[in-house]
Amino acid sequence: MFLALRELRRTWRRFILIASVVALVALLSTVLTGLANGLVTDNISGLRALPLTNLAFSPGAEATFSRSSLGPEALESWKQEPDVKVTPIGVSFVNASSASGGRSIDVALFGVAPDSFLYRDAHGAPDQHEASRGRPLHGLVLADELKEEGVKVGDRFRIGTDSGSLPVIGFTFGGTYGHAPIAYTDLGIWRQALFGNEAEPRYSALALQLPSGFDVTAADRRAGTETVSKQDAYAGSPGYSAETGTMTLIRAFLLGISALIVGAFFTILTIQRTRQIGLLKAMGASSAYVLRDGIGQIAVIVVLATAAGTLAGSGVIAIVGRGAVPVELSASAVIQSALLLAGSGVIGSLFAFRRVTRVEPAIALGVEQ
């Protein structure tokens, strides 16, 4: 890169435009990464936080709780599997109307069994006895988010049509599912609230803690269930696939755009430099030497511009994050996004590969083959 670096230093003005464009693309990509991750977190942080490895749904439910219904046979069958911990879970989206005159709230109601690994200890509960491990939750343990909206311990909410009202026992880190804050309650209360007193002992799905290497297919066949990993279950959350799909598409486009822009720029640069490339070859430089020099130069610009744009984008996300928009940006996500972008830019410069190798040394003398 003897020539490339000196040229960069002495004619840097030529590269301002391309560097700005690459930096802006990097900024946009970083902001989108922050928004996409924020959206994902806002959608499934509650499910992600549950201490389970897999979920068993009824066949054909496609990891969607509202389409799935399982009974005691499936639970019994899974209980027979060695080294497996299993507990039923009920999940429904409900509107909880205030029985104490406040506003109503939309929640994802999670019914969990007492003494199971899904059971949540509430913090801030006045009656320790009632909210402690091993006893059914006679009320609601709400996601912390709702506390910020003014809901207090002791408030009462009515769920479904004919049930009585349920008190708020306390709060816990609940997170969200399908963009709704989670409300934990006892599995029996969940069933009664949704299906009435005569309801059969059914539930939405089975939460599983499976040892690694466990043969899911065989167990599914025995139990008549369809088991997916926790990550695959995210897709069942309302809107999740559409949201992540859209974001992935936009980011893929940005990568493609960045590759095209850099490719176009390098192609123009190569055309402008045809005589100089001919001269280098006449001096005995190989095509590989000329390519190393040119692509190295592009790489320096792309890496610096991407770093600057990514830094600026992280700043934007930090500012946006103070407001109500859900954003999330981890260091690894930032680095991954920047590396992808820089990589696609450098790959873009390969568009000019043939153009460089085809330049004939004879043009240095003004005669071509």
């Binding site: 003897f2 020539l3 006449a282 005995g284 004879a362």
Partner: protein, 237 residues
């Protein structure tokens, strides 16, 4: 080279022919041209514009291939060589001096020479030292840190010659090296090429339509209608 250095010409062109498209027809630019240049010899080739002088240099410098015939450099036949080997041979044995120097605009004088060292995978330090002393030798040592845009035409051509000498070639090809210089500078540059040819034992070919270089050449050939004819010996300096 080898023990037969005395009788192997540094540069030999045998039966070279090149045709170029000319409208609907093809025009024979070089017609079975033969030429030998020995180490230490300075050859001048004249010819009207468009007679194929630059094309002849491009063939001799392995920048392009003839339709037929053979180019031999330091005893090595080149027609059977692949592109990579030709590039390699060119890098080691051939240098070109261009009309109006053809320097890289973004490199200083000393860097023009260092670039040659870099292409030849020479150590940074030794390349730098050699580059500085070459510029000194050619009388432009004080211009080492100047970009081409701020040099005079004569200075540029001196840097161009220094750059050509940097790779320590056996064959030096100069395409109209004094065409863009005034008479006084032309004499200086022609003198310089002649003295370097002598001191470095180069096989030098100067293509020119100027009279000046003829005064320094050992032989003078004329290119016309695809044929090279010997105009006779100039007086040897």
């Amino acid at each position: 080279m080898t023990e037969n250095e005395g009788n192997t010409p540094a540069l030999a062109l045998r039966d070279l022919s090149v045709s170029v498209p000319d409208g609907q027809q093809t025009r024979i630019l070089l017609d079975h041209v033969n030429l030998e240049v020995a180490a230490g010899e300075l050859l001048a080739i004249t010819g009207s514009s468009g007679s194929g002088k630059s094309t002849l240099l491009a063939l001799a410098g392995l920048l392009r291939r003839p339709d037929s015939g053979e180019v031999t450099i330091c005893g090595e036949r080149t027609s059977d060589l692949g592109e990579r080997q030709r590039t390699d041979l060119r890098r080691r044995q051939v240098s070109i001096v261009y009309q109006s120097a053809n320097l890289v605009p973004s490199l200083t004088a000393v860097e023009q020479l260092e670039l040659v060292g870099h292409i030849n995978r020479e150590k940074r330090k030794t390349a730098r030292t050699r580059a500085e002393s070459l510029l000194e030798e050619l009388g432009i040592g004080d211009r080492w840190n100047q970009l081409p845009g701020r040099m005079s035409g004569g200075e540029r051509q001196r840097v161009g010659i220094a750059r050509a000498l940097m790779s320590e070639p056996s064959v030096l090809l100069a395409d109209e090296p004094v065409a863009s210089l005034d008479p006084e500078l032309s004499v200086q540059i022609a003198e310089l090429l002649a003295s370097e040819t002598r001191s470095r034992n180069l096989a030098t070919v100067i293509v020119t339509h100027d009279e000046v270089p003829l005064n320094y050449a050992h032989r003078h050939l004329h290119l016309e209608a695809g044929k090279l004819t010997d105009v006779g010996l100039a007086d040897v300096r």
